[in-house]
Assembly symmetry: C2
Homo-oligomer: 189 residues x 2
């Protein structure tokens, strides 16, 4: 099972569909690291081109991996230890490729249906059969069109029966990791 | 489909297993309201006995449901409109019972395996067949033993293959709502 996650802060879209760079937030680091660690993610790439934002993310992670936080909460240390801060998608992809020894299947996520969709059951099966996967999540209003186009495929939007579909990236990442990697049997689905 | 969610701030446990009251946090309101609205939850009960905390939660919700927030972000208004702040589990249970016209099946959640477990597939099936359900989530280190004992059953812990199991309550609530209420078919599981 070889799965990495990347949280993209640039390029993403704003509410008007313009491409922007978003700010790193503390709970995106914690929640997705904790979910990643729970479901067996190897590396959680936090992507931002902004030097100050890279430093901020590095300081938060360091507080838990090397500083006081980790000494009082070792579980949180283990979760945040999977984070690697980097400057671009290209850097994350190169890092994942080097680690896996081959290019991963890159899958974007989007709240809107896209043309080149790969279903959860198929991806889950490919992961089980050994395909390395890099999952891309977008902050703000989601991944930019160029990021969606750069991926090998896009996972279907998450939905219930309501028609409403505005999950936080923390919720979406958690659910998608559970769908792809969570333990399932007849009793627990 | 009749499902309510309750986020308990008292009684919950701290890291030493003592019963405490925790603080309301902004993102617990937002993330669980957004996930709840996405998956068709009727009411998201935010339970705290502390007057100041009730006021804080009410102010946050009001900013989005009646104030400026909702006018610039109607989706967030629709999500936070499902929140009802109340003082106790008894009050939430009475409110849900009145709304459903019968007492709901009360299901607690816990990161540790409990004796009186009900599996996800069974609960999903009962919801489909019309049983009203109230899901209890604990903040801090989780629901107190008395809250676990008050429930009709406990959902199994969420897990991947890692053995690590330290999700945020935001992640756990999102995943559990998806497991119980998310759309599934052969392609998207």
């Amino acid at each position: 099972m070889r799965v990495d996650v990347a949280l993209v802060h640039y390029p993403v879209t704003n509410r008007n569909g313009e491409t922007i760079g978003s700010a790193v937030t503390n709970l995106d680091l914690h929640d997705i690291a904790r979910a990643g660690k729970t479901f067996g993610v190897g590396t959680y790439w936090v992507i931002t081109p902004f030097k100050e934002q890279q430093e901020l993310a590095g300081q938060i992670v360091g507080h838990w991996t090397r500083g006081y936080g980790g000494s009082v909460n070792p579980d949180r240390r283990d979760a945040l230890a999977i984070v690697t801060v980097c400057a671009s998608y290209a850097e994350a992809l190169a890092g994942a490729t080097a680690k896996f020894g081959e290019p991963p299947l890159v899958l974007a996520t989007c709240a809107k249906e896209q043309a080149n969709t790969l279903g959860y059951a198929e991806v889950r099966d490919r992961i089980r059969r050994g395909t390395p996967v890099l999952l891309l999540f977008g902050t703000a209003w989601g991944l930019s069109p160029e990021m969606l186009a750069a991926a090998d495929g896009v996972l279907p939007p998450l939905a219930g029966a309501s028609g409403f579909n505005h999950l936080s990236v923390r919720s979406a990442a958690s659910i998608i990791l559970d769908r792809l990697l969570g333990e399932r049997d007849s009793e627990t689905m």
